[in-house]
Symmetry: C2
Subunit: 246 residues, 2 copies
């Protein structure tokens, strides 16, 4: 009964999409996940193109990815996605990352809101298309923890980045994937030689724009576990992130 509720999409790990260890980068995986969310929603009548007509847009609020392994250069893999829950103001969308044999090597969870492009206020998802988004709620298991709370007390930034042309997306915001790259660039390459990322979380709190300077605050909150906060212009928090290595 879940057949039409789960979307499955095929990929290959391209040469410029893998890091120095030959494994797919977290930024590229994040990009693929968000694309799959878009394909899946569009195929079911609640994609960006459809809802834009009514002046609404999807906004990603949280993303959590947990992995046993990453596809290697030239390897085929696939991503499954489905809707776990629909609430009035948020929807939970899950993902499975399958290796070329179809075995799950990771899962991801995401939380989305829909906002009016005019008022920026959230829309009521339960009334969207007469409530038919709830028809796609699927009980497939996503065996990883929900995104948790990320708290950073550190007051001294470890890096700064002046936003540039290539950071900015079609909405004029720093794009969700670029934050992932900048956050992982806080770690020296040796970290990625010795360890791999077990769990990665992003909380998208506010938008930043061309010309903003991003400051990165990082705190080691446990063995191999780091919480990161990104502020714009030393004031407002724009994103928070958690990186757990293994």
């Amino acid at each position: 009964m879940n057949d039409n509720k789960i979307g499955t999409y095929q990929f290959v790990a391209e040469p410029f999409h893998v890091d120095f260890t030959g494994k797919l980068t977290m930024g590229v995986l994040g990009n693929h996940l968000l694309n799959c969310a878009g394909f899946h929603a569009a195929d079911r009548g609640f994609g960006i193109a459809e809802i834009n007509e009514n002046h609404y847009t999807w906004v990603l609020s949280r993303l959590a990815i947990e992995l046993e392994d990453m596809p290697r250069q030239y390897e085929e893999f696939s991503i499954q996605t489905w809707v776990e829950n629909v609430y009035r103001l948020f929807t939970d969308r899950d993902f499975a990352i399958l290796n070329k044999e179809g075995k799950p090597v990771g899962y991801a969870r995401s939380v989305w809101a829909m906002i009016s492009m005019e008022t920026r206020k959230p829309a009521d998802l339960l009334s969207l298309h007469g409530g038919n988004i709830t028809d796609y709620v699927c009980d497939k298991e996503c065996p990883i923890a929900k995104p948790g709370r990320i708290k950073v007390a550190q007051q001294t930034p470890i890096a700064e980045h002046a936003t540039k042309y290539s950071d900015i997306d079609i909405n004029g915001h720093v794009n969700s994937i670029k934050y992932i790259e900048h956050i992982l660039d806080l770690f020296p390459i040796e970290t990625f030689k010795e360890k791999s990322i077990k769990r990665f979380e992003m909380a998208y709190v506010a938008e930043s724009y061309y010309g903003d300077t991003l400051s990165f605050y990082r705190e080691e909150v446990g063995e191999n576990e780091y919480d990161i906060e990104v502020k714009k212009n030393n004031q407002e928090v724009v994103v928070r992130s958690k990186v757990i290595f293994k």
Copy 2:
């Protein structure tokens, strides 16, 4: 007779692959071109996987892209590629970028060498697979100028970049696409509001590595025409580039 000589590959301009104007970025287009080169070579028996067995690898030396238009977000487009010439030490590979109606909106030229992974010395392409690479030489027209000479006299860098984790590819080098991003990030966003890129050239001269600091020297050599040189650690030139806006 050119049918099997030309490879055609389909793409869609993904949301995180377009810039703030909604058009595909030059870095992503470059990535697609290099992937097409890889697919085309692999399908004909002289791809990376095949030649790696004999301890050789392809090295990109020059890339020149000239465009009337760029695909917009969610638009389908395709890329054709073919081999124009094979010399002893270099091969010229051309590309056409076709819009969703199949009309060419741009062309590209590239120059490649094959080197031994052990000695780093160039291989003789004419003797590769008993010379059969020349069977694929195709007379399809590529109506843009060949890559030209780029010369930068400027001695004061306009930007520096300390190479980071996300810059580095599976070979341990700064990846060819990242240079394109860093070079276009030298221009303020206003440039891309008012103008678009007409022609873009890259000359890959030497490799840079994790920990290198890249310095960017830029010179306006004509109206809307810029030559750029990138040095590592203020010494050796690693890439040169030309950007012509319209």
